[in-house]
Symmetry: C2
Subunit: 243 residues, 2 copies
C-alpha cells in the first residue's frame, strides 16, 4: 500500500526539520507542496518528482497527492512549520475518506510558536493559546471571542497570520481586545522570518504592539501577567520556587 506522508519542514532552514522528516523525504519519490516550501528543499533532495499548485488551491494539492499515491508510489506532502497546526494534515485526512486504500502518516515539525519562542527567549513556559487572525476561513466574531477569553484567563497568546494586505489593521484590533484584560505594559514579542535569512525579533509592550505594523511572515507573542524582559529576552516564569 502506498502512503502519503504529510510532513512539516519546521520554520525555514533545512536543519530545523526532524531526522524523521528527512528520512521521509529521502524515501518518497514524489514531493508535493506550495512552491516556496519546495524551493527550500529542492537542492538537498534533487532526484525527486516535484509537484505543486498555486496558493489557496489546497484541496487540489491534496487530490494531486492521492492521485500520485494511487500510481503506487509514496508521496511526501510538505508544509512549513508543523503540518498538524493550521497545516495540510486535516485536509488530507478529510479527502482521504475518498481513498481508503491509501495510507496516511503525519510527520510533525517545529511550528512557529515553538520556533519563534526560541528566538525570543522563553515566552511559552506556561499555559498558552494559539490563535490565527486570518478570517478567511473563520468568522472574525469567533476570533474576537477567543482573543477575549484567552486574555481574560491570563494565557500567554501566540498569534499566527497577524496581518496581510487585506487585513492591515487586524493586529491593532486584536490588541484592543486584549487590552481590555491585560495591562498596557504587558511584555510582548514579535519574530519575523523564523529560521530563515533575515530572521529578526523585537520585544515591546502591548501598547506598542497595538501600533506596530507587521507582515504575514511575523509571529506575535503576548505575555501573561508574569512575563518579563530579562537581558533582552522575553521570559515567562514557570514558577519554580527554588530559583
Amino acid at each position: 500500500m502506498s502512503k502519503i506522508y504529510v510532513t512539516g519542514l519546521g520554520p525555514g532552514a533545512a536543519d530545523q526539520m526532524t531526522i524523521r522528516a528527512q528520512k521521509v523525504l529521502e524515501r518518497c519519490p514524489v514531493i508535493i507542496g506550495y512552491t516556496v516550501y519546495i524551493d527550500l528543499i529542492r537542492d538537498e533532495f534533487p532526484d525527486k518528482t516535484y509537484l505543486s499548485t498555486p496558493m489557496r488551491k489546497e484541496a487540489d494539492r491534496c487530490r494531486m497527492a492521492f492521485a500520485e499515491a494511487e500510481k503506487g508510489q509514496d508521496v511526501a506532502m510538505v508544509c512549513s512549520g508543523d503540518a498538524g497546526i493550521y497545516g495540510m494534515a486535516g485536509l488530507i485526512c478529510e479527502i482521504g475518506r475518498d481513498y481508503p486504500e491509501i495510507g496516511i502518516e503525519i510527520v510533525p515539525g517545529i511550528t512557529a510558536a515553538s520556533g519563534g519562542a526560541a528566538v525570543l527567549g522563553a515566552p511559552l513556559m506556561h499555559d498558552f493559546a494559539v490563535i490565527s487572525l486570518s478570517d478567511l476561513l473563520t468568522p472574525w466574531e469567533k476570533i474576537e471571542r477567543r482573543l477575549d477569553a484567552a486574555a481574560a484567563a491570563d494565557f500567554v497568546i501566540c498569534l499566527y497570520n497577524p496581518s496581510s494586505r487585506k487585513r492591515a489593521d487586524y493586529l491593532e484590533r486584536a490588541c484592543e481586545i486584549v487590552l481590555k484584560h491585560k495591562k498596557s505594559d504587558t511584555v510582548c514579542g514579535i519574530v519575523r522570518n523564523i529560521g530563515r535569512e533575515g530572521e529578526s525579533c523585537e520585544i515591546l509592550s502591548l501598547e506598542q504592539l497595538r501600533e506596530k505594523k507587521v507582515d504575514m511572515f511575523t509571529t506575535v507573542f503576548i505575555g501573561n501577567s508574569a512575563t518579563m524582559e530579562l537581558n533582552g529576552r522575553m521570559v515567562t516564569p514557570r514558577g519554580y520556587r527554588d530559583v
Copy 2:
C-alpha cells in the same frame, strides 16, 4: 564565549529531534539532563560527559550547566519535547542573569501537542489552548479559570500533565469544567508514550474521557465543536470551503 544550548529532543525516539538539535549534541562536549532523557541519547553520542540531577532539582541542574560553561566548554541542556514549552528554557534565562558572560541559545523541539496530534490525526487545525493540569507551581483555581475560558470560547484544548499519583482525579475535574461548555459527545483523544516504545492512542467522547484513568505519560486532546472522528482519526476541520 562558551554557550549553553537548551535543546528539546522531541517526543521520545531519537529521530524526532531536529537536525539542528543533532548538530548541537555533536558539538557540545557536555550534556546535562534528567536521567531518563540522557538514556535516550547516550548510545548515539557516546564520547560525552553526561551530568544529571534528580527530578525536581531543575534549578540545581541549571546552575550545574552554567558551572560547566564557566570552565570554557559548550553545554547542551536537554529536555524531552520542546525546551521552550513548560521546559528548561525559562529557568536557564532566569538564572542566566547571574552569568552574563555565558551565551544562551534555545533549540526548539517537537512538543507533545505537535507529536500527539500527529498520532491522533489532525486535531490542531484550528485555534487551540495548551494547559498543564499540574498544580505544583500554579494554583488550581487559575487552571480552572483557564479551562473554563478555553472551553467557553470553543478552543481545541491540549492538556499536559493530566495526572500523577497525587492528582488522580484532576482529569475528571478538568472534564467537568469543560462539560459546562462543550457537548458530552465532543470528540477527544489521548496519546500515551508519544514517539516511544508502546506508543498508543484512543479516540473517545468527552463523557468517556471524564471516566478515563490516564498516567503522566499521556497527552490529552479535547476537540472543538467541529472536531470529528474520521476513519479512526481525530480531525478538526480548518474550514476550506472547496473540499
